[in-house]
């Protein structure tokens, strides 16, 4: 009999006795389901935020900030500079021949979250110029577009789901008075966590005479270098030019922190579940000691016993992992979540349990199954045959 066949036989035999010990087997399954469920869910929260930020960045758009600024919030672009940027070479044109550029102001307003009524910062973005051409992905899906000059806002779909008082017709208090929400829009990315309006109107409300940034649509991704060179070589401008994809790829620091925290909590939980798995596999081995001793007595090698124990624990772990991932998918999929930052503004996103994250969860499950099985498997293989047979 080949070694492989021996292993397969012993494994099949071990597995066939599983239904006789459902309690102990379920310890592994439920323990690991808990770990994987929490891990996959938390990773999904972090990843959905950074993914939706990444999705917002396009390589054929460029964003221009003040050279000392890292983020739009702390950047300032003067009106004259905004004009020079729009006129730079490489900027695409709208149908009526104007440069496809939008000088924008990014401001923040506190609105209560639906979840707990806590006031949290939300981005309000004022757009200007040919914003409609630059940001072709903005689709108004309810109500209508804001009218420049009037105190009107349109709200991103996910933001509306996460915050109170953003339905069409609602009023939002900004400095200097109330604004009306006149429409809802979709973009499919992080931009859905904003309120959009006209830049000049927003600037007067926030007492600003400078923009935060200018975003331009390039003729093609390839002209970026030419566009950048033209701006950075202009001595009257002190600006920083980035591809939009590069700007948004940095993601949010907080989503990075959430991901680190997920792994930390996942690791500690995994350690706890591992002790449970070890317990189960030890007792599973001791419950089967007569059977294992008999197999060894009739000539099956220790290795096939080791494999059978390992396969058992890994299969149970895998089952647990799948259940955990399934629960996390069922609970989170299609839901929305918002992640803010102290003194900053929230990013509201739709949650998607991505297959790679499920893969990470299952990999953890397998490793836990393997680790939980190794020591008991070795004990099973070393079981003194005579003692085990006599003991019963």
């Amino acid at each position: 009999m080949s070694a492989f066949r021996q292993m397969a036989l012993v494994t099949a035999m071990g597995l066939s006795t599983l239904p006789e010990r459902p309690g102990r087997a379920s310890v592994i399954v439920i323990g690991i389901a808990g770990v994987v469920g929490v891990l996959v869910s938390m990773l999904t929260l972090g990843a959905s935020v950074s993914e939706s930020m990444r999705a917002a960045g396009r390589s054929d758009r460029a964003i221009v900030l003040r050279n000392s600024a890292e983020k739009e919030h702390e950047s300032a672009i003067f009106t004259a500079e905004a004009q020079a940027i729009a006129d730079a070479p490489g900027v695409a044109r709208t149908r009526d021949g104007k440069p496809a550029a939008s000088a924008e102001l990014l401001a923040t307003v506190n609105l209560p979250r639906k979840l707990d009524d806590v006031p949290s910062g939300v981005m309000v973005r004022g757009m200007s110029g040919s914003a409609a051409t630059v940001r072709g992905e903005i689709r108004v899906v309810g109500g209508r577009m804001f009218a420049p000059g009037l105190r009107e806002l349109i709200v991103g779909r996910v933001l509306r789901e996460q915050f109170t008082g953003l339905d069409v017709g609602s009023r939002v208090t900004l400095p200097g008075g109330e604004w009306t929400v006149v429409g809802t829009y979709e973009t499919g990315d992080m931009w859905e966590s904003m309120l959009l309006t006209d830049a000049k109107t927003l600037m007067s409300a926030y007492h600003r005479n400078v923009f935060s940034s200018v975003t331009v649509l390039l003729e093609s991704p390839a002209v970026f270098d030419r566009f950048k060179a033209a701006l950075t070589s202009d001595p009257t401008l002190s600006v920083k030019v980035m591809r939009e994809s590069e700007y948004y790829s940095k993601g949010s620091e907080l989503s990075g922190a959430v991901i680190i925290l997920s792994y930390l909590i996942g690791a500690i939980m995994a350690a706890g579940a591992l002790f449970g798995a070890l317990n189960t596999m030890y007792s599973s081995v001791s419950a089967r000691s007569l059977e294992i001793a008999t197999l060894r007595a009739i000539g099956f090698p220790g290795s096939s016993v080791v494999v059978s124990v390992l396969v058992e624990s890994m299969l149970l772990a895998m089952l647990g992992g799948l259940i955990g991932a399934l629960i996390s998918w069922a609970v989170l999929s299609g839901g929305t979540f918002s992640l803010g930052s102290p003194g900053g503004s929230a990013v509201a996103v739709e949650l998607h349990v991505a297959p790679p994250l499920v893969g990470i969860g299952l990999a953890w499950a397998l490793v836990m199954g393997l680790l939980g099985g190794v020591l008991p498997a070795v004990r099973a293989a070393r079981l003194p045959v005579a003692t085990a047979l006599r003991a019963s």
Binding site: M42, E74, T108, L174, H207, G276, S283, G343, A346
Partner: protein, 386 residues
């Protein structure tokens, strides 16, 4: 005493099993201690470090970044019960390289001299120097030391605040230093003149993040705060007045509903634990059925046997839980403290108490099925090993 011996013996019947179970309980409560403990301790720390109720912070109700016009300072000053008002406005900068961060605090020297902020130690002479020199700055002792600056040095700082001349580099002359009395608003900042700053900046002129009011009678803090906010209700500059602790808490609350996430994670952990430990406990009782039958034969009542099983579960769960929480306090808290640069926080007694209570509840739930099983035991069958 004799019962304790029995409980102890029962616990160590299979040492490997008990140790593994204890380890999983320890791990679970390590997580509980780290997550819940950090939340509670951090909140207490904010309360202590920033709990000065004699100081009220007034900011825009719209958002911190919206700012308030400096013109409302005299209006607030006139409110009865307010001893002094100062502006508060801060921004980030760096010296030479982006990693050399320096926090810049804009102050109104005249007002600061009249009523120095209670948490910072600065000499009147240094402020007097700053008043004389528009570009003068008083630098925190930690910054001086870190970058080797001396009084008289002229330091250029790169900021996110554009100047009217379109540059973002601000140059200041060091005229003095200060020490910080408390962890909040530490010595890692510099103070600059509001007049100079406001004149040179490109936008936001005449507006600051907010106002800090020192009130004469701290017990009237809430009513004074309401009074300030009522004064500006329905104006273009609606205000929100609160203590520093409340303001910091509100800013932190914005991240997400962390409490909810932690509660969900901990529920998952405890549910899993209930299952794992419950199963082990059940198994351990099943293994000892003949022994329990012997005890019953000797005349141990059902109640005593139930108490024995329950004590075993309580000892295992509560003991391990306390070890886990202690580990969180001793091992994880220093790490967390270092990460947030707030020093090691003490574990709040309430966290320990609630943790022990959870562990006790867990033990009772876990002991329930084995107790039930032991009660229904048929002594004759059990002794016969059936």
């Amino acid at each position: 005493m004799k019962y304790l011996v029995l409980v102890w013996a029962g616990l160590w019947r299979k040492p490997a099993r008990t140790v593994l179970t204890a380890l999983s309980v320890i791990t679970a409560f390590l997580l509980y201690g780290a997550l819940n403990g950090t939340m509670v301790s951090f909140d207490r720390w904010i309360g202590q470090a920033m709990g000065d109720t004699a100081v009220l912070w007034t900011t825009s109700r719209v958002n911190l970044s919206a700012g308030l016009p400096i013109g409302i300072v005299p209006v607030i000053e006139r409110i009865e019960g307010i001893a002094a008002v100062d502006i508060t406005h801060e921004f980030n900068s760096y010296w030479q390289e982006p990693e050399n961060g320096v926090g810049v605090v804009v102050i109104d020297v005249e007002r600061r001299m009249r009523h120095p902020s209670p948490w910072s130690v600065v000499s009147k002479a240094a402020l007097e120097q700053m008043r004389r020199l528009r570009t003068g700055t008083v630098v925190g002792s930690a910054v001086m030391k870190k970058y080797g600056w001396k009084i008289g040095d002229r330091v250029p700082l790169t900021t996110g605040v554009a100047r009217k001349d379109r540059s973002s580099i601000w140059v200041f002359d060091i005229v003095g230093t200060y020490d910080a009395a408390a962890a909040v608003s530490g010595a890692d900042q510099i103070w600059i003149n509001y007049d100079y700053f406001d004149e040179a900046r490109a936008f936001g002129n005449g507006r600051v993040t907010g106002m800090v009011s020192v009130i004469a009678d701290p017990s009237r803090a809430t009513s004074v705060a309401t009074q300030i906010d009522r004064l500006f209700a329905n104006s273009p500059n609606e205000t929100l007045t609160r203590s520093l602790g409340d303001m910091v808490r509100a800013e932190l609350d914005q991240i997400t509903n962390i409490k909810l996430i932690i509660d969900i994670v901990l529920s998952a952990v405890l549910f899993t634990l209930l299952f794992v430990t419950g199963n082990t406990m059940m198994q351990s009782v099943v293994d000892r059925i003949p022994e329990i039958a012997v005890l019953k034969t000797y005349g141990f009542s059902d109640a005593i046997i139930a108490a024995l099983i329950l004590s075993e579960a309580v000892l295992l769960c509560v003991g391990s839980a306390l070890v886990g929480i202690a580990l969180a306090a001793v091992v994880l808290f220093p790490l967390i403290g270092a990460a947030f640069r707030i020093g090691t926080l003490p574990m709040a007694p309430s966290v320990v108490a609630v943790g022990a209570a959870i562990a006790f509840g867990l033990a009772c739930l876990i002991a329930l099925p084995p107790v039930w099983r032991a009660q229904r035991l048929n002594v004759v069958d059990a002794l016969a090993g059936r």
